[in-house]
């Protein structure tokens, strides 16, 4: 490149650079001028305003946390309430030596190691200028002691906070759930400003599901403080908006009957008000005391709950996945009718076992001698397995899956509980996806009697029963009936319905279920009531698989291998109001263990004088137990030993 050109170019570049530098100087002066202008406005024009603000600036903004909404049952009984607690707080940004301050405080009131570690944990999370609790729940004496020494503690303050209390403890732990300290993960999820001054958040159950409604809106208080950050005067208050109260469909008395009914057994009971879709009881046993969690559960207590083999923290009603056993049969019967696979009076012959055509595999009926000629009514009444093996084989799994999905089997019911399980209603596709295996005819046959891959939650069972009894109306099951006095119910025209091919099909299935209780050969005849008619279905779900030639003998098996007893029912049959599902883990058979609990709940709900009838039931029960000894074998306790069952215990399979 010729030197002249380079020099010319250099000159051009130089001129351009000077231009840029000059532009930069202009930019710098202009923007700095802007900052100075802003400062002039703050320091000269509005100097008076800010001087006033500054001279009384002992003013601080304190968050006023809203009171959390309270939860009551259908009769207004408090299930979650707020009780005042006196707490001691430290403002970390006001205290030079926090360790020393805590040391001094501990000479005045007792501060445990737990308190210290909690304080340290909380301090890290809080904003710099927010107070952190060092001790909660001071008693009168401690308050008095601190009040005397108070002047010594700069940046320490005593205050009243509301603590959550669950009066029914164990009875409602799974339903109401509990609140606990906000953790790191939740901190990312929530709007932190909305939670200033609030340390707790709903962790499980309704407390979690309705967190947004229960929490409310934070308020602000402008206060004047002295140099030691004690509040001298409240200047202005923007009050918080308290959380909304929630009234439930849930009935604490029914819940008590359900929990008591399960006795020492683990299990789950769900009761649904058919007319409203309201969940009346949601019992999961064993329970735990939710109050332990509010202030941070101790390591020991938590370990005990975690390691308990009965898994008390696990809410069986919405998270449990159980094989439904024979309780699925009415729904399969309905599917068969509506899909046109069978008619109600069509019969098959039950020799006590079933063979798929062209296959050597033998599927046994619970009744070795067989049920003989069996139509749909008898098949439900006596829980004939062969009938349903055959029916399932004829329908095919995909048709069954599609029909039963309408009842929300294999899907969430949409109840107002967090993390509800959809459990499993299998299909060809499902098995391919889940296990990468081909669906075989034997799988369909097993599913026909509620075994194999098929799993349901107690809530799904109760809900499907309510839908069946309630004419196919798919009312979303709800624990909450009113939030802040406003009904949560959907208007009637927004409620979806299952499309019926023929209404008499539904009546036929209900007739079969009615015979389960009303007929002298029904599997739940012992719970027959004089006051109203009940329609139901017993079930027994096997926990261990039996080999081809083994027979089930309860006496030889450890208790945790005993069958689960199941029962679904609704009543009154002619005007259905309540639907119930009962699962008694390792309870033996549905008719004798599960059904009587359902009867007690129905009595309490349907009859005015429940106490009287309850006594009546127990005397009836005693009377029956005497003459039922011999019948036990005739019931379905030996049923469903379908051979080559590859599935062992499944209900916790998640």
């Amino acid at each position: 490149m010729p030197i002249a050109t380079t020099q010319q170019q250099q000159a051009i570049m130089r001129r351009r650079l000077i231009g840029r530098v000059v532009a930069t100087v202009v930019f710098v002066l202009l923007t700095l001028g802007l900052v100075i202008a802003r400062l002039y406005w703050l320091q000269i024009t509005n100097h008076e305003v800010y001087t006033t603000l500054s001279t009384d600036n002992r003013i601080r903004l304190l968050p006023l946390p809203p009171a959390r909404g309270e939860i009551t049952d259908r009769n207004g009984v408090l299930l979650a309430q707020n009780i005042p607690s006196i707490d001691l707080f430290i403002f970390p940004d006001k205290v030079k030596n926090i360790g020393e301050t805590i040391e001094q405080l501990s000479k005045v009131i007792s501060i445990s190691d737990d308190d210290r570690s909690r304080f340290n944990k909380l301090k890290k999370r809080q904003r710099r200028f927010e107070r952190v609790a060092i001790r909660t729940g001071l008693n009168q004496q401690e308050m008095a002691k601190y009040a005397v020494e108070r002047h010594r503690f700069r940046g320490v303050d005593m205050g009243i906070t509301l603590r959550r209390y669950y009066p029914y403890g164990e009875l409602t732990a799974h339903v109401v759930g509990y609140i606990g300290r906000i953790n790191e993960r939740e901190l990312e999820r929530i709007d932190q400003a909305a939670y200033s001054g609030t340390s707790h958040i709903g962790k499980t159950g309704l407390e979690r599901y309705y967190e947004d409604q229960l929490h409310g809106e934070v308020g602000v208080q402008k206060v004047e403080m002295d140099a030691t950050s004690h509040i001298m005067r409240v200047i202005e208050t923007q009050p918080p908006v308290n959380g909304k109260d929630i009234k439930l469909n849930f009935d604490i008395e029914l819940q008590r009957i359900a929990m008591d009914g399960l006795g020492e057994h683990s299990g789950a009971i769900v009761a649904i008000d058919i007319k409203s879709g309201g969940i009346l009881a949601l019992a999961s046993k064993p329970g735990f005391d939710a109050n332990l969690f509010v202030d941070g559960i101790s390591f020991k207590d938590y370990g005990a709950l975690r390691e308990n083999p009965e898994t008390p923290l696990y809410n069986r009603t919405v998270h449990g996945r159980y094989p439904p056993g024979s309780t699925i049969k009415p729904f399969h019967a309905l599917a068969g009718l509506e899909l046109g696979t069978v008619t109600a009076n069509q019969t098959i012959y039950c020799p006590g076992h079933y063979r798929i055509k062209g296959s050597g595999r033998k599927f046994r009926d619970w009744k070795k001698s067989g049920h003989g000629t069996t139509n749909l009514y008898k098949a439900i009444e006596q829980s004939c397995d062969v009938y349903f093996y055959n029916l399932a084989y004829s329908m095919g799994i995909d048709n069954m899956h599609d029909y039963l999905s309408q009842f929300r089997f294999g899907q969430k019911t949409g109840a107002d509980m967090p993390n509800e399980t959809g459990a499993v209603y299998p299909s060809v596709m499902w098995k391919k996806k889940r296990y990468n295996k081909v669906w075989v005819a034997g799988d369909t046959v097993n599913a026909g009697i509620g075994q194999g891959y098929l799993l349901v939650s107690p809530l799904q069972l109760a809900y499907a029963t309510a839908v069946l009894a309630g004419d196919g109306k798919l009312i979303p099951p709800r624990l909450a009936s009113h939030i802040d006095g406003i009904s949560t119910a959907l208007p009637d025209n927004e409620i979806p319905r299952i499309e019926k091919k023929a209404p008499h099909h539904w009546a036929q299935v209900i007739q079969g279920m009615s015979q389960v209780v009303e007929s002298p050969r029904g599997t739940a005849k012992r719970i027959r009531s004089k006051s109203y008619r009940i329609a139901g279905k017993t079930g027994t779900a096997q926990v261990v698989s039996m080999k081809q030639n083994e027979t089930y003998d309860a006496k030889k098996l450890a208790k945790d291998k005993h069958d689960h007893a199941l029962f679904v029912a609704f009543a009154p049959t002619d005007d259905p109001q309540i639907a119930i599902s009962v699962i008694v883990e390792h309870g033996g058979h549905g008719g004798s263990t599960a059904a009587p609990i359902a009867r007690r709940i129905m009595d309490a709900f349907l009859l005015e004088e429940s106490i009287e009838t309850e006594q009546q039931v127990s005397s009836e029960k005693e009377a029956e137990e005497e003459n039922s000894e011999g019948e036990n074998t005739e019931e379905e306790n030996l049923q469903q030993r379908s051979d080559a069952q590859q599935n062992g215990e499944r209900q916790d399979d998640e």
Partner: protein, 390 residues
């Protein structure tokens, strides 16, 4: 500012300082500002002499680094630019993979017991890289060269946003863009970019939810709080309101050194770091602030003078960029504290407490001194060093 300080007399026989590669006017400005900062830190920290001593050590380390860098010629700096840049990128990736969490953001890297922020290295590495790249093209550079340089800026900036650290990402982007500006980015394009920025800001004012796509919730809240501080009086708005009270109550002459009521009653947040400007405004008033601003202005003008006098394209691009970045520190911090810009966590340069930022800034001044004091030498040696870019 008088001419005699800004322009070094040329006919004086080689004085000592240029031979040591020290630019006296720049050094004077820096030392004055540091001394001023230490005095204010003493007040802002509630007379915590230990903190002042720690800051003094920070300053000393930073000065040593500055002198060391000044010894390297611009040609050498240019030669190491790409390696420095690549090392910076690698460290940024390392920080994302295994960085230490601090205040909900991942910025620190622990090496041999020392915690440091790779994003600080990048603040210098990006303008070095861009300047090196552009200076090696035939001048004036073509549009696509500018585009490449812009990409070289965006990659580290994106990595820093991921940490997430909006304040530093802005500074790094600015550093890169300023090299483009001095390389001759066309005015039309500049006007276009400014117009887009204005349109973007207007859109945000109109519908703040647009921000969800680009920002973390806490960043969005800071921006929205700027629009209406009363909106979140317990969160970010608290800082701005308290800072305004401190500044406004300072008035023309201030409440006097150590007499600021706002900071001594602990109402000001982060008073010795990002919000030290409010303490200065409260205690020394508008007059004190203006004097401090003149000191800053002196340093900036000296930096621009060095840029203008530079005889290499590399020096011009890098010097201009580093000076402007220093100015952006000042602008963003003062804008933030006075409530005209969002709270993005940028320190007041050379005055705020903290070692990391001061070292980066001084390193930048070291480069400026190198550019200015190696002029005659560089002319003869430049051709000897084969550059990575050629």
């Amino acid at each position: 500012m008088s001419d005699s300080i800004l322009s070094m007399p040329k006919h004086v026989s080689t004085p000592l300082l240029p031979r040591l590669h020290i630019d006296l006017p720049l050094l004077t400005g820096i030392l004055l500002l540091c001394a001023f900062g230490l005095a204010m830190l003493y007040s802002a920290s509630d007379s915590d002499i230990a903190m002042v001593k720690r800051q003094l050590v920070n300053i000393a380390i930073a000065l040593v680094i500055m002198f060391a860098i000044a010894q390297l010629s611009p040609a050498k700096l240019k030669a190491i630019s790409p390696w420095f840049y690549l090392a910076g990128l690698a460290l940024l990736i390392a920080v994302l993979v295994m960085g230490d969490m601090g205040k909900g953001a991942q910025r620190w890297l622990l090496i041999g017991g020392f915690r440091f922020q790779p994003s600080e290295i990048v603040k210098i590495a990006v303008p070095m890289m861009c300047a090196g790249f552009l200076a090696s093209r035939p001048q004036p550079v073509k549009a696509w060269h500018l585009l490449v340089a812009f990409l070289l800026t965006l990659i580290p900036a994106a990595l820093i946003i991921k940490q997430p650290d909006l304040g530093t990402a802005i500074l790094v982007t600015a550093a890169g863009v300023f090299t483009l500006f001095f390389a001759g980015l066309s005015w039309r394009l500049i006007i276009l970019i400014v117009a887009i920025a204005i349109a973007g800001i207007s859109a945000v004012l109109f519908d703040p939810d647009i921000l969800d796509a680009f920002m973390h919730p806490y960043q969005k809240r800071r921006v929205l709080t700027l629009i209406d501080p009363q909106n979140d009086p317990l969160g970010a708005g608290y800082h701005i309101i308290q800072a305004s009270i401190a500044i406004g109550s300072g008035g023309m002459f201030g409440k006097g050194w150590l007499n600021g009521t706002q900071c001594h009653l602990d109402f000001l947040p982060e008073q010795h770091t990002d919000f030290i400007f409010a303490v200065i405004a409260e205690e020394l008033g508008l007059v004190g602030i203006i004097i401090m601003m003149l000191l800053y202005l002196f340093i900036i003008l000296r930096g621009l003078y060095i840029t203008a006098m530079s005889d290499s394209a590399y020096g011009r691009l890098l010097g201009g960029s580093l000076t402007l970045v220093f100015f952006i520190y000042l602008l963003v911090n003062t804008g933030m504290v006075t409530g005209i810009l969002p709270v993005v966590g940028v320190p007041l340069p050379l005055v705020s407490y903290g070692g990391t930022s001061i070292i980066t800034i001084m390193a930048g001044f070291g480069i400026l001194m190198s550019i200015h004091t190696h002029r005659e030498l560089s002319r003869t040696r430049q051709s000897e060093i084969t550059s990575f870019f050629d």
